[in-house]
Symmetry: C2
Subunit: 599 residues, 2 copies
Amino acid sequence: MKSPKALSMKYMEMKTLEWQLFNVFALESLTEQSRFADHDAVSFRQILDSVKKFADTELYPVIREMDENPARFEDGTVIVHPAVGTTMKTLGEMGLIGAPLDYEVGGLQIPITLFQALNFVIDAANNHVSGYYNLTFGAAELIAVFGNDKLKEDYLQPMLEGKWGGTMCLTEPQAGSSLSDVETVAIPQDDGSYKLKGQKIWISGGEHKHVDNIVHLVLARIPGGGPGTKGISLLVVPRDRLDGTPNDVTCAGDFQKMGQKGYCTTHIIFGENDDCRGYLVGTEHRGLAHMFQMMNGARLAVGRSAAAIATAAYEASLSFAKERPQGRRLMKGGKKDVSQEQTLIINHPDVRRMLLTQKCVSEASLALILQASYYYDMKHSTEGDEAKDYWLLLELLTPVAKTYPSEAGKRSVDLGLQVLGGSGFCNEYILQLYYRDIRIMSIYEGTTGIQSLDLLGRKILAENGRALDLLEQEINKTLDQAAEFPDQVAQLKEHMALNRDVLKSLLPLVMKGEVEMFLSDATVYMELFSNIVIAWLWMKMAVKAQEEGAGTDFLKAKIHAMKFFFQYELTLNHGLAKVLKTPERLTIAEDDEALLAFA
Amino acid sequence: MKSPKALSMKYMEMKTLEWQLFNVFALESLTEQSRFADHDAVSFRQILDSVKKFADTELYPVIREMDENPARFEDGTVIVHPAVGTTMKTLGEMGLIGAPLDYEVGGLQIPITLFQALNFVIDAANNHVSGYYNLTFGAAELIAVFGNDKLKEDYLQPMLEGKWGGTMCLTEPQAGSSLSDVETVAIPQDDGSYKLKGQKIWISGGEHKHVDNIVHLVLARIPGGGPGTKGISLLVVPRDRLDGTPNDVTCAGDFQKMGQKGYCTTHIIFGENDDCRGYLVGTEHRGLAHMFQMMNGARLAVGRSAAAIATAAYEASLSFAKERPQGRRLMKGGKKDVSQEQTLIINHPDVRRMLLTQKCVSEASLALILQASYYYDMKHSTEGDEAKDYWLLLELLTPVAKTYPSEAGKRSVDLGLQVLGGSGFCNEYILQLYYRDIRIMSIYEGTTGIQSLDLLGRKILAENGRALDLLEQEINKTLDQAAEFPDQVAQLKEHMALNRDVLKSLLPLVMKGEVEMFLSDATVYMELFSNIVIAWLWMKMAVKAQEEGAGTDFLKAKIHAMKFFFQYELTLNHGLAKVLKTPERLTIAEDDEALLAFA
């Protein structure tokens, strides 16, 4: 049996990432935009290489340790693995924590597309450390975009240097995903600051001693804002004040979890002694809108982590399958020749089916993240109608980019564990760790159910469906280049029409005001819609592989995977469409029958 | 936040189990068979009640402890939770370990259907303990059926009394699922015994000190049997000899796992000092056939454990959803009224969809186990053609009864965790434990891939497809009583025809000898076929509910669940059928291209 050590350094090959980044999504072309004009392909590759080296030497080697020694609450603070400190420090020194930000606030103005790629490498190596600096980036970005000069001056530099950590404080015990019910209050003081009182749960990276301070970005109610989400404001609340004294921010515990055990999940109390000060970010009562600007980035980041875990799982399963002999292939007539040596399990069709599913899901999840990021970069480096169209495409893809890698990625890691058979369930192999870690991704930053409501209830309906029109134009552009694959072109066109059919059967409910009925199967719709997006991305990759001559095994394998996805995954939309077109609504109950279905 | 304590005693209500057992499957009617004539409904219920009480007081309260303090190897033995000893002792005293066996070997001749129900209760309470006595039963059954009088006399009584444990030793490190490659040898000795040499891995319940002895049933090669599975024999190999001296059986370790942590998974070495004695069970070189007689029972047992875990997860999710307020329902026009109190999450359509899926999967998985067990009982209490038909039905359903609860159950527990949102991922709630525990079920006793080969490659083809004909007769009998549900009757008929279509497109491959191609998507076929079987069982339950007047919420909910399954799950077969009917075979590679797809 293999020791975990023998499986090391195999979490990720760079070949597919680099090919997607530089060939399929033509990262270099972004340097034609003035925002990115100081960069070039050489500098992009240098950054990528240095991050890969850091991940290889410092992060992947400790993921098992972080899993086996979970973050834990002790004496008012949380003990986490020292790699958290190393990561903050190293990425801070490399200037990478806030690298996509503007020069003037201390960023490097690198494309988000590249930034996602860097983070993908780190997530694949060790998804327990990445949240610490990712949230620091998110918090810094909010300050950079909405904060006044004083806030920027006081907070940005130590955060971007990795000396201070940052968090997002949304969830409260009584509210969960329902931000309308946030109760933390912020009372204006004469000096322009606010006094905070309230508590927040599930605050990732909320407390540890590997940074000098932790800067919380907190949603709270300033009196006068009215009920619901409209009355919510956003405040900066540091754990320690600028003079180093405590700011009445207390850590009350660390939630113990099934996975991502090295990533602390804290319970934070603000103003237990009525002495917690916060500082307004942006406009009073506009806090949720501000937060959601960052939230889209956070959603892409979750999708990216999921894609990265699925990738690491795929590579681990693949190397097992290439090394493990077991059983024999069936010969013509169905016999096995037991006098022959055992075959490698990669030669069994069912194992190949599982591995090809893993390949399809993990590589396309990466492509989806890069595609959405590319739209983000184009939106931020163009203007007017062009920028608006990129924004609509980004908005449409964001819930999908959060959800598909999380949900299909979970299924993919599950298959990856199955490839190993009983070994997959044993701690000696790493698959069980990925299986546990990836499970949180469909919950973080808005569950799959919430993303699906966003997709069908907002993004598809927005601007009279213009985002979908734009996406179909994008897909058709790809199909126009795909003459080599006529069967799959026809299939994708059929499925685009099927999607329109489904919407045609659902939209009358919106007209009638039956919005709950319209949205009741949004999660099923998410699955159908995602499959179309992923089929498009696979076609885009196959077209590129063909354009490059399809002469190498690497390129041939991309075309093979495209065909596999169309045959085994896109095809399932026929069933999903039938579910969605059924007029009965078995999941909606009159109030007096609410519990009947579960009697 | 809730403490785990507050969630206790909610792992299983008896109502659905009892209704299925006594009403849908008419357990009492089995007492008309002479084999079961000494029993009646009262005695059946007494046994069930006493098991439930034992599970409530001794087993459910310790499952968290067993998870948090995994079985561990120490000084040549394995430390397991004392509940293992309590369980062996209590069930032994109650006569339940071997209760389905014949009176003459110490059994109670209870129906397997009842036995599965008892075990279902225990598995739902604590799936970490059940394997210890279940394998003891399996080992005892092999001795009872195939052993000579001496073996029966020496071993059965202490095993059935729970004083000795039993195991099944199949897997070896180099062979995995490929039993053709078993290398453990058994050399005949002058005294009629055999000298064993070899090692076995993943031996569940293989070593601990809460029983006085452990009796291994070992697959090994007696010279002269030829290669492959035909040369394998079955031997009884006790850890300690009858005189109490050691038999050169060594425990070399305990595998640490992601779930079922209280259930030890050992590495056993036989004959390290050339002094390990075994005793032949049944006929030389017929060991695999003997073992597989028991294996069908073991496969049903795995499906039952999965069904039970899915049930416990469903009840936990349901009670959370009934207590947890969050957000508000959408009113006509799509607005929410934030001045209203938050609604319970059970009222959100997406949560109801998840819970109804859990209900459908867990209750139908139980029904499937009971249906297969009923066929088993009828096979063993009838004769001639009648017995043979029951046997064919049992054979056909066994791979499905192993796989559907394991695979759909995994998906069901995943949805159950999602119902809890972030709480589902936290150790404080039990869902994450069920999520980890159920994951092994699609691997134990033949993976999903292996079960699927069995279904399509053996069971569907056997006796010119007679088993499928018989099953369709069974389904049609139910449909004839289902006049109240014309839409669903039509739908199930359509899907039975679709299944025949799929087989028609696949069978020519068998004729041409292209068996590897025929079987390459067997796992996809398993999913399609299972959905038809489950739809039938839901229809059977709906028909019974209707027959009983459908007047209570309990009965109405069964009919609602049936409709839900047809709409949301059976419908997906349209997509699966299209996958299966595609002639291309993307998972089969010529040898020289074996790795190309993964380049």
